[in-house]
């Protein structure tokens, strides 16, 4: 069974159509969760709105549990899924740069697109900024190449990193997410609420 498209269960011409449908659902969910508002997004860093953490971790937890259940049920072959490659320094430094960008701009690429869709001008500027960022990166690729390709560990997962079974990794991840939610609510009650 799945993944369906790589295994050729439905012809690859459907690729684009499915992409648009998935994208529509993605956009709808992000927008409806309030991710088109940069102030709501930035709230996560100032403690007045933890929607980002909640949506992000709930989604990750649900997805990871679901993937492993589907694997168990034989609906999907986990071996065939694309695992994001691990380049330690690229991930840490890239993540740090993105973190600064997130706080400054108040969006991430997916959410900025949603905001563009409902006409936020700051989001349009942000998207233009992203493109300039990509351009800078590409033009100065020589500078970043060492970091970009350095310390490659291949397509590894936490199972390989920690050497424990996937079920335990998932269990700890779930626990971590629940703790994060509780802490988030705890902090929010103590922070002066801001209306936006």
């Amino acid at each position: 069974m799945g993944p369906i498209l790589p295994n050729g269960i439905i012809p690859s011409e459907w690729d684009s159509i499915i992409a648009i449908i998935i994208g529509m659902a993605f956009g709808f969910i992000l927008e409806s969760s309030g991710f088109s508002s940069s102030r709501k997004l930035a709230g996560v860093f100032y403690g007045y709105d933890f929607a980002v953490i909640k949506v992000f971790f709930t989604a990750a937890v649900i997805a990871v549990i679901g993937v492993y259940y589907m694997n168990y049920l034989g609906l999907i072959n986990i071996q065939q899924l694309y695992v994001h490659p691990t380049y330690i320094w690229a991930a840490i430094i890239g993540g740090a740069i993105m973190g600064v960008g997130f706080v400054m701009g108040g969006f991430c690429p997916g959410t900025s697109l949603c905001a563009v869709a409902i006409g936020k001008i700051d989001a349009i500027v942000y998207v233009v900024g992203i493109m300039i960022g990509v351009l800078i990166f590409s033009e100065a690729f020589g500078l970043f190449e060492g970091i970009y390709d350095g310390e490659s560990l291949g397509n590894i997962t936490l199972v390989d990193t920690f050497g424990i079974e996937a079920e335990w990794v998932i269990f700890f991840f779930v626990l971590m997410a629940i703790v994060a939610f509780i802490v988030a609510d705890f902090v929010r009650k103590r922070v002066k609420s801001i209306f936006y």
Partner: protein, 176 residues
Amino acid sequence: MNLNKEKNSHVYWNPYFGGFLLGILILFTFYMTGRGLGASGAMKSTVVTVVDAVAPTHAENNAYYSKFISEEKSPMNTWLVFETLGVLIGGFLSGGLSGRIGWRVQHSPKITSKRRLIYALAGGVLFGLGAQLARGCTSGAGLSGMAVLSTGGFITAFSIFGTGYIVAYFFRKNWI
């Protein structure tokens, strides 16, 4: 429930519900295509296409562009570009249903629009740079990576939020 549109426009989904649906969507995406969602990939494709059209030889000589240029396929003809189109449509639908559509610059009352736009541009530049370096943004590397327990995905996600909290203090005026 208040059906007044003016007030309704700020009522969002419960974040856990949004997260739940998003998780199911990622699951569905993995089931259908074998990989996760993404957003910044389309922007990269756009940049590559533009550069390729303006200065083809330059694009070919650049070590980074040339990775994404192939003879038979336009860089725009990728999964992620179609998905991004879908995101725009989906966002528009959702915003339209709750009456959130309109041209405006959203910013804290304490700062001017101009300042907000400058910061948005700077933030975008940084995010674009970081996303290329880390091979993905919050959705591509973070969410989709975490969904398959990718170590890189976890590192990226925690790095984004960790740095966010560290530097948040310096930009507090923009938001609160």
